[in-house]
């Protein structure tokens, strides 16, 4: 290795540094040349990405058939048409997505492995020291935000609560008696409720249904839970049959799935919370590859066919490009850092 700074240490004397101009010029030119070669080759590389016949793996940290998986599969099938190569969804469920995130961040950053990133699970997994995650935010190279599924509060159609204010009043009058459901101690519903409690100075009885929203809905329809906290994609059937009254949606705009339902903001509670899903590649993936992937995702999200399919599944499509997604991630991370200690 050429070392322009030859430091010779003689016993007992201060090191003498000989700066060799000639040698350093040689080094500099070699560095520049290699840099040029790399740039050209990565551009050429990117022009080849993806190679025909090479499969892109999309890691999904949740079970096949769940709402995260369905959204990912819809994106994957769209990407196949855009990129002209097969995109295969591989489910690696477990540890609330941590197994898949670990696999994603440890995969070769060549663009042939990408993965789904969920909020809050991806952020919680590295913020919570008890989870002992082997990755951090910088391990992810974000590609796109795909779905935002806003949280909501709902009551049964025959419930005495007609508005959000009724719920707040009841909770104030009976601390820790109004039963509200979540899908887990660190689920998006739990964070939403914690924020709401802070905002309104109330305390609910949070009932966690870790097996999923279906168990929560059953308990709710059976009258065992007073308020259902769930996401927009969960109540399509019940809303249609008139069994539920959705009190408010935690988003900045009304949902096309529930016409006539106000947002929390419109009722005086500036609360925005959701479970969202996006995609990322392992950090270190070359920029050209990242651009190719995120470009494909952008085009898929804009296509009419994709939009229709997502709407059929009750998934709220909300595309963000990597820059916007990074900003959104930072904001979300900040909120969670505040709220996480409250879940302990």
């Amino acid at each position: 290795m050429i070392n322009p700074m030859n430091a010779t240490i003689k016993k007992g004397r201060l090191p003498m540094v000989r700066f060799d101009l000639f040698r350093s010029a040689k080094l500099l030119s070699i560095l520049m040349a290699s840099g040029l070669v790399l740039a050209v080759s990565s551009a050429a590389f990117a022009a080849e990405f993806p190679e025909k016949g090479k499969t892109i793996q999309m890691l999904v940290g949740f079970a096949a058939g769940g709402s995260t998986d369905v959204g990912a599969r819809l994106m994957a099938s769209g990407m196949e048409k855009e990129l002209g190569t097969s995109v295969l969804v591989v489910n690696k469920p477990g540890a609330s997505g941590q197994i898949a995130y670990t696999a994603l961040t440890q995969a070769k950053p060549d663009g042939y492995t990408i993965g789904n990133t969920n909020f809050p699970s991806s952020v919680v997994s590295y913020l919570d020291p008890a989870r002992k995650a082997t990755y951090a935010r910088k391990s992810f190279e974000l590609l796109a935000l795909h779905v935002i599924d806003p949280a909501l509060f709902a009551v049964k159609a025959d419930s005495p609560f007609k508005t959000l204010k009724d719920v707040v009043d009841a909770a104030k009058a009976n601390p820790r008696k109004v039963k509200i459901s979540t899908t887990g101690i660190q689920s998006d519903e739990a964070f939403a409720i914690l924020q709401f409690q802070k905002m309104t100075g109330t305390q609910f009885a949070m009932v966690h249904f870790a097996q999923g929203v279906a168990s929560a809905m059953t308990a709710f329809l059976g009258g065992k839970i007073d308020v259902l906290c769930a996401n927009v994609g969960d109540l399509l059937s019940q809303f249609k049959s008139g069994e539920v009254r959705i009190l408010g949606i935690m988003d900045d705009e009304s949902s096309p799935f529930y016409p006539g339902v106000k947002t929390f903001e419109q009722q005086g509670y500036k609360l925005y919370n959701s479970s969202s899903r996006g995609f990322a590649a392992p950090a270190g993936t070359p920029k050209a590859v990242v651009d190719a992937l995120s470009g494909a995702m952008k085009r898929v999200s804009a296509s009419e066919d994709h939009k229709k399919r997502m709407a059929d599944m009750g998934l709220t499509l909300r595309y963000m490009d990597p820059v916007q997604y990074n900003a959104y991630w930072s904001e979300y991370e900040k909120t969670l850092i505040e709220l996480l200690p409250l879940t302990k």
Binding site: A63, A64, G65, G66, D69, V70, R73, S77, V90, N91, K92, P93, G94, A95, S96, Q98, I99, T102, A130, R131, K132, R176, K177, K179, G184, I185, Q186, A205, M206, V207, H208, F209, A210, Q211, G212, A214, S215, M217, T218, A219, L221, G222, G223, K224, I225, L236, S237, Q238, K240, S241, R309, D312, M313, G314, T343, K344
Partner: protein, 501 residues
């Protein structure tokens, strides 16, 4: 009867040639997926969804639902023939089913299992047609508190599983409960007994454990002898005899009821249904001690229950729009992908699809019965394959099956570990059935207690406020205490007998 009229209309849809074809395809695929150990209905249904995009909604859903309850037919086959559970809900069938196979009665076991499966699935569908509303309302009464009480009752039935040694059965039951504690605890969400491994965060993994305890342990026991000399008993007839059919009637009827009712309760798994059926059969039988040695009731009941459960689990989807299990959630997704939202209004808006699908459940079960019965002759031939060859193939399939649960080689190692554990436990003469029971019910118990206490914010009184829960828990208490009474009564009898003599 309006329902029957609608059903007849549904039949005209279900029996249309292309829908029949879809039902057939779904049934075949379902059986195949059920046979393959480890690959479960969720994966099967999920993978088919993209294929069904091109089909009409009715056809697509007919195929997917046929696949779903078809897997319950296939899962039985490897359980009986090879002691390898094809699928979680078929694990219990290994106990008596494999014993029957070793006695040369594999054909009989498979036949009864197929018939029971058919009856179970059909009765659950009849329940859907005739009593969906009331049944669903009843199921909604089961909140976390009642669920907890039900699970405790199920666990108390563990006492009924004790064979020769109560101590050993209890030890195994507790061992299963401890294994069930591995993972993220339901209270704080912190890892417990995970040794730092992420893979344990959701628990040890039922399928790899069961495959190890039963399938691999069996192979290991067989390696003690020269593999070429391991042979199966001579095959007796494939058709069950009159006595066997007579003995099976009760279990099949009871299994149908148990499976249908438990299928309605979200959170109850098919394996819980089939296991509770097994225990019920043991309780009502005149020869409880013979269970595990090849009692046909031990196959008829559970196999019926798991099919009734699968079809019963579809009821809340139609009446409430709620999927009772992850697999049903996938089917719900299939509905939605075709622009249909399942729920009570589906009957108004798309009556032809709704009733067509329901009618197809009957059709599908018939197809599966016709499909599976003749195949028994072929399946049974598997046993004729020389063990020196067969065992390696079983090993390969088990490894792939264990892997495919979560696409992880770690699960294969779990299976190997429990293969060793199962081997040692067998050598030491410990019963394995209690582990399966507590491993299934354990996580459900702690979680439901936690949820119930969330509702009351820590007050145990909530349990006593529910009449259903009180009844169930009292039953459990009686069951737990009864053996002690019997024990003391015997002691006092012998004492007074001695005195009198």
């Amino acid at each position: 009867m309006e329902a029957l009229q609608n059903l007849l209309m549904g039949f005209t849809v279900a029996l249309a040639p292309q829908n029949l074809l879809f039902a057939f395809l779904g049934s075949v695929l379902g059986t195949a997926i059920g046979v393959l150990p480890g690959v479960g209905p969720v994966a099967g249904v999920a993978m088919l969804i993209p294929l069904t995009f091109q089909m009409s909604p009715t056809g697509a859903i007919i195929m997917l639902t046929a696949l779903f309850y078809g897997t319950q037919y296939g899962g039985t086959i490897t359980s009986i023939l090879l002691n390898v559970p094809g699928e979680a809900a078929s694990a219990i069938t290994c106990l008596d089913g494999y014993a029957m196979a070793k006695q040369g009665r594999a054909g009989v076991a498979l036949s009864i299992a197929a018939i029971g499966s058919f009856v179970g699935g059909t009765i659950a569908t009849i329940a859907l047609v005739l009593a969906a509303g009331p049944l669903t309302r009843m199921a909604l009464q089961f909140g976390p508190v009642e669920f907890f009480a039900l699970i405790v009752l199920g666990l108390s039935l563990l006492m009924g599983l004790a064979g020769k040694s109560m101590v050993k059965a209890l030890m195994m039951g507790i061992f299963g409960l401890i294994l069930a504690m591995v993972g993220m605890d339901p209270v704080r969400g912190l890892p417990r007994f995970t040794f730092g491994r992420m893979e344990f965060m959701d628990g040890i993994g039922f399928v790899p454990v069961i495959m190890g305890l039963f399938g691999l342990a069996e192979i290991l026991v067989n390696t003690e002898e020269k593999l070429t000399s391991v042979s199966v008993a001579k095959m007796s007839s494939l058709v069950p005899g009159k006595k066997e059919i007579g003995d099976s009637v009760g279990p099949i009827l009871r299994g149908s009821v148990i499976g249908t009712l438990l299928g309605l309760v979200p959170g109850m798994t098919g394996s819980a249904s089939s296991f509770l059926s097994y225990i019920a059969e043991k309780k009502v039988s005149k020869y409880p001690d013979r269970f595990g040695t090849g009692m046909i009731e031990g196959v008829a009941g559970p196999e019926t229950a798991n099919n009734a459960h699968a079809n019963g689990a579809l009821i809340p989807l139609f009446t409430l729009g709620i999927p009772a299990s992850p697999t049903v959630a996938v089917i719900m997704g299939a509905f939605m992908m075709h622009g249909l939202i399942p729920g009570p209004f589906l009957f108004k808006e798309h009556a032809d699809v709704a009733w067509g699908v329901i009618a197809s459940f009957y059709v599908g079960n018939v197809i599966l019965l016709i499909l599976n019965l003749p195949l028994i002759g072929i399946w049974v031939k598997i046993l004729k394959i020389p063990y020196g060859l067969l065992f390696a193939v079983i090993v390969a399939f088990m490894m792939v099956g264990a892997y495919s649960v979560s696409n992880s080689t770690f699960d294969i190692l779990v299976m190997v570990l429990f293969g060793i554990v199962g081997y040692l436990l067998r050598k030491l003469d410990f019963p394995l059935a209690p582990i399966v029971l507590t491993l299934i019910l354990g996580p459900l118990m702690e979680r439901s207690l936690r949820t119930a206490l969330d509702m009351s914010q820590g007050d145990f009184g909530i349990i006593f406020e529910s009449p259903i829960a009180v009844v169930l828990l009292s039953l459990a208490a009686v069951i737990l205490v009864a053996p002690a009474f019997r024990f003391f009564r015997k002691k006092t009898e012998t004492l007074s007998g001695e005195e009198g003599a």
